[in-house]
Symmetry: D2
Subunit: 282 residues, 4 copies
Amino acid sequence: MEKRILLTECTDDVGLIAKITNVCSLFHLNVTRQDQFASPEDHKFFMRTVIEGDFSNDKTVKTFIDTVISLLPQGANVRLADEHRRRLCVLVTKESHCLGELLMKTYSGALNADIVCVAGNHPDLGALAEKFNVPFKLVSCEGITKEEQEKRMIEVIDSTNCDYVILAKYMRILSPEFVGHYPLGKIINIHHSFLPAFIGAKPYHQAYNRGVKLIGATAHFVTNNLDEGPIIEQDVIKVNHRYDPETLAKAGHDVEQMVLIRAISKVLDDKVFIHGNKTVVF
Amino acid sequence: MEKRILLTECTDDVGLIAKITNVCSLFHLNVTRQDQFASPEDHKFFMRTVIEGDFSNDKTVKTFIDTVISLLPQGANVRLADEHRRRLCVLVTKESHCLGELLMKTYSGALNADIVCVAGNHPDLGALAEKFNVPFKLVSCEGITKEEQEKRMIEVIDSTNCDYVILAKYMRILSPEFVGHYPLGKIINIHHSFLPAFIGAKPYHQAYNRGVKLIGATAHFVTNNLDEGPIIEQDVIKVNHRYDPETLAKAGHDVEQMVLIRAISKVLDDKVFIHGNKTVVF
Amino acid sequence: MEKRILLTECTDDVGLIAKITNVCSLFHLNVTRQDQFASPEDHKFFMRTVIEGDFSNDKTVKTFIDTVISLLPQGANVRLADEHRRRLCVLVTKESHCLGELLMKTYSGALNADIVCVAGNHPDLGALAEKFNVPFKLVSCEGITKEEQEKRMIEVIDSTNCDYVILAKYMRILSPEFVGHYPLGKIINIHHSFLPAFIGAKPYHQAYNRGVKLIGATAHFVTNNLDEGPIIEQDVIKVNHRYDPETLAKAGHDVEQMVLIRAISKVLDDKVFIHGNKTVVF
Amino acid sequence: MEKRILLTECTDDVGLIAKITNVCSLFHLNVTRQDQFASPEDHKFFMRTVIEGDFSNDKTVKTFIDTVISLLPQGANVRLADEHRRRLCVLVTKESHCLGELLMKTYSGALNADIVCVAGNHPDLGALAEKFNVPFKLVSCEGITKEEQEKRMIEVIDSTNCDYVILAKYMRILSPEFVGHYPLGKIINIHHSFLPAFIGAKPYHQAYNRGVKLIGATAHFVTNNLDEGPIIEQDVIKVNHRYDPETLAKAGHDVEQMVLIRAISKVLDDKVFIHGNKTVVF
């Protein structure tokens, strides 16, 4: 008995759950967990169904999915998450905490994925990646245009055949061309603030100057609107007047790495749907 | 179009979701939200289905439920939560914070229920209940046996025709006879600690002596095992060495009232199933 | 033995703690708790000293304070918090949760203050205030200019001889004239978001549209920069895609009332200093 | 201008702060931060004073400390935290998350200390330590008595000249002889639960069986009472009915590593005093 995850997205309609689960029954697939959300706002339907059964016959599997699609409203997006171990390409600059946690969690198996490449615009984190036998690619910005640097970075990323690009404190603003090169949902960023507060640069200085009592972090999918992509996960930590920008950043780093790992973990479990500029996270 | 909630509990089996949602379709009931859990441990199945349709014909509704039951494994527990506004009977002693919050949240409508009676073993909170035009019954322990006092309290409770008995800091240990007089799930208690820590009396003194850095509260259904009933909701608040038992209790009260309200709110929404000594909370 | 709190604010300098504690010793005043903060940024010094001793002779007390001042840098602000029970004037509109919690916490004694007046621009909360025998003043905006309404509100407030004005969901933007009529630190507001996110109106709709995973609240002193005054306390609560603006608001209300009470509690304990646009909270 | 930290512990008395700060003034040492706590329960006084000045003359420094001691009650414990970079010896078994985080945080500099040795009763984590050029010592339990294994472990620890022994998921119960070999405050443990709940083995199974809604972790100093030493730091994370013992443990690991790092960070900053079976954490 194998286990697979069926992911369904379509316009909401009467009887969708019945239809989908019926098809599962018909194909002798047992539903062990089902999560569903229908947005009252725009009548979109999202469902994640964990099914157990025999998936050895590719033709049968294809027929199963085609049958599901045939019963759903026009434009439905249905897929069976395949079982390959996901491949992460991690982009970094100089700060090590997010990369370090990613390396540790994949090393220990807590995160069910492989880091296939670390690419940095600075060489600082090469030694760390190499400790874990992960290849490091330097794609420096020095002496070349932003366009050229991005072109080289895209080449590096695309050569890795990765499933997700993780911006683990990659301190470069991506051009619309770069972002547009990848499907929505492939690039995940960790933002050093509780978005939408402190959008932009130096959020810890902004937080210090504002005198906030909480410091946050936000993991989100990347879109062309800087810091405005669909939020996957957020958390905060308490701070007080004794924190300066440096100690705020240190406290913030702990939240950042935790939030990033939680977000990636949810994505790897196929629990995250993109819904316009938001997410549905089961 | 009315909205109702279908609650299903039974032994887990293949195809349960399909069967139930099919019956809904058959009766022209649209599923707008569905939450499901199958316990891998003991193979129990729980499902909460929000359905929309016409429930005006009692006979049709009965047939609908009978049909669902007929398709499920032996011993299934299926019910359609009726729509009456729930009635709460609140038991208190001297501390006002939980009762106060219950009165405020029902007054404002944030909690969708009516407090039909406050009963106390001390007269202290009578004036507060009466501010909100809620009848207060004094069931003193003075000069009578525990057995006799409980008998009187049961009479008071039973005369109110209430749906839930809320122990809002009722500082009496209930006898097995008292607890056994009510079905499991009818009595909800707020315990002044993060259970299972600090079971029993004077938890804030226990917490002080242990030097903990967090203070918690637990809302749970009451069973005959004191402080051991199924947990509905828990939360904590940070404290430090400057807190003494009195200020710990003050901080704890804020968590207690918040946790109790959240738990009752979930119960009133029919989102809580009892699963052995645990709960499933959707 | 009486207990008092000595509050000191001045330019930072070498030996300030020694000077102040020496004067305490000289006057036979025992220091039981001392909290101090020197801002590395602008070299301001803040100290809160709890002292025990005999304060019965007004002349001696005056000499004590004068002696402290004489030893501190020019422009020092030194005061002995007097012991009178603080008087709160609470401004409201229609939402009851913050007023309700204030009434409950002063009623129970958890908040060491008296609500001497509730003033609203709508009559809705009059009945609630009167349950607790607190006078309610209606200062309607209907048929009069904003200027005139604010003039009347100021008259109401000033007639109460209150120590603090609490904006407990008072949904009016105050004019600079209104704000300027009171010393900085006298007006406390609860803002329905984790500032600086979602400044302005309809924060729960803003939060919904942005798809955030946390909802917050901020208690702050009021200045002429709307939503920009010194922050006293903030907290958040987790939410998810199932929340709509209405349920977000409901979740937010719980955080709002908790954050407001915590902030007022700190202010009543004389633990909050204003430091430019920030606070020092001991 | 050097910065040092003066740590004072003694019986509480009138005028202690004045006396200590006076001596600082006398020796031209500027106090930049002072935290103080007097326990109302047993009249113990704790003070942490950050001082700036010239500490180059050892004889003057000694006289300074002797002068402070001479003015305090009998039995005072006064010390000037020296500035050497602290040395950590980390004991492990098989789980990598706490060791991994310690290696990362010392590598990045977020934790101001050196891991001088990792010692394990299993060989599993040797490869990880060695990635960071930290020597790993295997002290197996196989084929030898507990007494002999502990003797060998003590030899390893003592040969490292470490300041602190960190039990980073070292799954052995230490004998009183082992614990007694080190001064109280030298050994720090991370316990996989919110103590005092779920003392002892298999806390995640215990938590699962109890159906708790929060999972916690506790960092504490080790004493001869297992799981009963002074608590330094605690935190929790929300869980629900979908978690099984394995996913509870995974969630718990994130809290464990965060709580352990925070506790060690406080200890390295000399912000933690032991007060009987509790701590004072500034």
